[in-house]
């Protein structure tokens, strides 16, 4: 491409970072913050697993255990599973639509600084007297109890994150809808973009519900309002309803972008347009809409008339349909594709495999008859660690590797990336599959201790070993990504040969992305690989 090249991000000075409104730098700032908190949350998970290695209390007090669990849950949900997609979305969305930046670059910077503010607040909860122990769900009445720690931290962290997500979501939706380059029609949008559109719409509708719920917590604790006090006409179920009205859809905020990444990678490495592209888009929106109609499946044991449980059981099972459509489409895309088993592809296939296990265990959880028996047991924990912990993380790491040459202009070490994946898959399956079993045997979640039943002890020991292997795998993957920014060999401009717009600019892209607004021709499509070949021949 052009003769000028650009200083890599890493040599930019502090001033260039903190005052930047460049969506790519902001994306990287999101990514670094998100990864940092992912690692903190991961360490607290290992602490939890150490405590559970044996029955009895070895390393932690019950309070410390509750704190570790809260830190783990909150950071993983909000910083990793939600936050990491802000990174991908910011970096890639404007590139994919052929825009120079997002619609509101300054607002975009502010979104990051709000995310940063929430991060500072989260770190302050490590101060003595400020620890929070109300779990990521923050249910009253426990969260209003002094044992749970100051709920102000929990509520205000969520306010800051909410403001950040909301501004970010509005920004990206408007960008996507109004700033697409000529030729990048709605029909030709990458599936990544469709996923992010749906995900951000969910954020716009859902975040305020959670913000309202935690505002009520804040008011109840510090201003003695009556929201959750039955003696004065309040109702703790109000919190549960509002919380899950957002927090079920939020699982799709987390997994839809993962689906988007998976779709991009599957298409590129099968070298064909995704099978059933239209049905994919319909499925994305089906999931987004249905996602708002299932929240009560988290409350089947909270006390409610049967007809409500039956209704929400139906909607829950129904949401398996669009989810299944997506999985079938990926598999059909592979069929007769010219598959390349590159590192990102291997991460992605692993993600699909893990999602399948997590999704298939979600369906029975949606049936009250089964759920009442296993609710709040380790079975549920295993379910969401398959979908959220593993499928999402593997997809995100797949994305890291896939776009690594784009972000950094270099390649990672193939060998270490694959070693990491093998460790991750062995560790996580050992860990989480046994978690299903111990859950079915009745191990309740959120307890620091358990009875010394032989089989339980063995299951917990093996789980902890699995967790250590998983932790080692993740650590290797992250180290590889970090070190390769310096040690990796220079990447080709378009190493995967994808015609998607982000690959048609230099890596890393110049600050303004495109010298001229690209006009994409009729026969271009992000998945039209022949078009790219024709371009090469012409040159």
């Amino acid at each position: 491409m052009a003769a000028v090249s650009y200083k890599p991000y890493f040599s930019a000075g502090l001033k260039e970072w903190i005052f930047t409104t460049d969506h790519k730098k902001i994306g990287i700032m999101y990514g670094v913050t998100s990864l940092l908190f992912f690692l903190i949350a991961g360490l607290s998970a290992l602490a939890i697993r150490m405590e559970l290695y044996q029955p009895g209390l070895q390393y932690m007090s019950e309070d410390a255990y509750n704190q570790a669990l809260t830190v783990h849950g909150v950071l993983m949900q909000f910083w990793w599973a939600v936050g990491i997609w802000s990174s991908f979305g910011n970096y890639l969305l404007p590139l994919m639509i052929g825009a120079r930046d997002v619609a509101f670059p300054r607002l975009n910077a502010l979104s990051y600084w709000l995310f940063f503010a929430a991060s500072v607040l989260a770190l302050l909860t490590f101060l003595p007297g400020s620890q929070i122990r109300m779990m990521w769900t923050g249910y009253p009445p426990f969260s209003l109890n002094d044992n749970a720690g100051p709920v102000a931290f929990y509520a205000l962290i969520i306010h800051l994150l909410g403001a950040s997500s909301l501004a970010g979501a509005v920004n990206l939706v408007v960008t996507n809808l109004t700033m697409r380059a000529p030729g990048v029609t709605m029909k030709k949008m990458n599936l990544f973009l469709h996923s992010f559109l749906a995900m951000n719409v969910i954020q716009i509708l859902g975040v305020p519900a959670l913000a309202g719920a935690v505002t009520m917590l804040l008011m109840d604790k510090y201003f003695q309002t009556a929201f959750f006090d039955p003696a004065r006409g309040g109702d703790p179920l109000l919190y549960q309803n509002l919380f899950w009205f957002y927090s079920h859809p939020v699982v799709y905020v987390m997994i839809l972008p993962a689906f988007g990444v998976i779709s991009e990678i599957i298409a590129t490495f099968s070298r064909r347009e995704l099978f059933g592209r239209t049905s994919m888009i319909v499925a994305i929106w089906g999931i987004a809409i249905l996602g708002f109609m299932v929240w009560v499946h988290h409350m089947f044991t909270s006390g409610m008339p049967d007809w409500i449980r039956i209704l929400f059981s139906y909607t829950t099972v129904l949401i398996g349909v669009p989810t299944g459509i997506k999985i079938f489409n990926w598999i059909f895309t592979l069929y007769k594709g010219s598959i390349r088993f590159t590192t990102p592809m291997l991460y992605t296939l692993s993600a699909i495999f893990m999602f399948l296990i997590g999704g298939l265990t979600g369906i029975p959880l949606g049936l009250p008859a089964f759920d009442i028996a296993v609710h709040d047991s380790h079975f549920v924990v295993a379910h969401f660690h398959y979908v959220l912990g593993m499928a999402l993380t593997l997809a995100a790491f797949g994305g890291f590797h896939y776009w690594y040459p784009k972000f950094t202009g270099r390649m990672y070490s193939e060998l270490w990336a694959k070693i990491a994946l093998v460790l991750i898959m062995i560790g996580s399956n050992l860990f989480y599959f046994l978690q299903f079993i111990v859950g079915l045997e009745g191990m309740p979640r959120r307890y620091a201790d358990y009875p010394a039943i032989d089989s339980w002890v063995r299951l917990h020991e093996l789980q902890t070993i699995g967790a250590m292997i998983l932790g080692a795998g993740v650590a290797i993957a992250v180290m590889n990504l970090l070190l390769s920014t310096k040690l990796g060999k220079k990447a080709e401009e378009n190493p995967w040969q994808s015609p998607s717009l982000e690959w048609l600019v230099p890596s890393p892209p110049p600050p303004h992305n495109f010298d001229k607004t690209p006009h994409m021709p009729e026969d271009w499509d992000p998945y039209n690989y022949e078009w790219l070949e024709k371009q090469h021949k012409r040159q």
Binding site: V4, S5, A117, L124, A209, G233, L238
Partner: protein, 259 residues
Amino acid sequence: MAQHEVHHLGEHEYSYWPLPVGLSVLLLPISFIALMVWQKPMLALVFGGVSLVLLLLGTVGWINEFFSKGHEEGLGLPAMMFFIVSEVVIFGTMFVGFYMARVSQAEVWSQWVPKGMNLTIPLILTFILWASSATIAFAEKFFEMGRNTLSALFVLLTIVLGTAFMVIHIMEWLHLWHAGFTLSSNMYGTSFYMLTGIHTSHIVVGILTMIVALYILLAGKANQHKGHTYIKAITLYWHFVDIMWLLVASSAYLIGSLA
């Protein structure tokens, strides 16, 4: 590396203002925590003060930059629409709280209604807000016709009406509060003050946006090419606040005090 390194702080790639605004928003909750959790009022005051200064600095700089650099793309309007959608959900959570209690506590509810509660004040407030919806619509019309001074006059009128609304509303609150109907009395008190309080906080934001509008209209920063979207967006926001008032008032006052 390369022959020439092009990595200056290009015009559209940096801005000094998001950072101070972000930091001010960080210090606000910390100030609250210092007061309520750490019980250090002096610390809270310092944080709160610094936060306010940063906020002022950041927003003024931001607004100035916004109206002097770059060109109008009109994207603010769809953004405002999406933002309003999420605002509706925020109000929705409080409505859910109110109606859940209203239905489930129907038997005891009548004991919760304070004596001083009547429908005269909300009626007056409603008329004031309706009038302000009209004045802001005129302001927008005159701006479109290029008559900025007249437009500014109507913005000013809207600000006056909004402020009147606030003052009367606060007097009404004080009156009810002294009659023993407080935020913590019961779910009626809680949801009454939360609904009307959140609504009034929107009035405050609306008035602040209109003060900015007044400034850009009078300083000549608003014309055919600039500030158009801003005026349109805040008009939209104000109409939303007005419509929301109808729902808030009919719930908090009307349905709330029907025994």
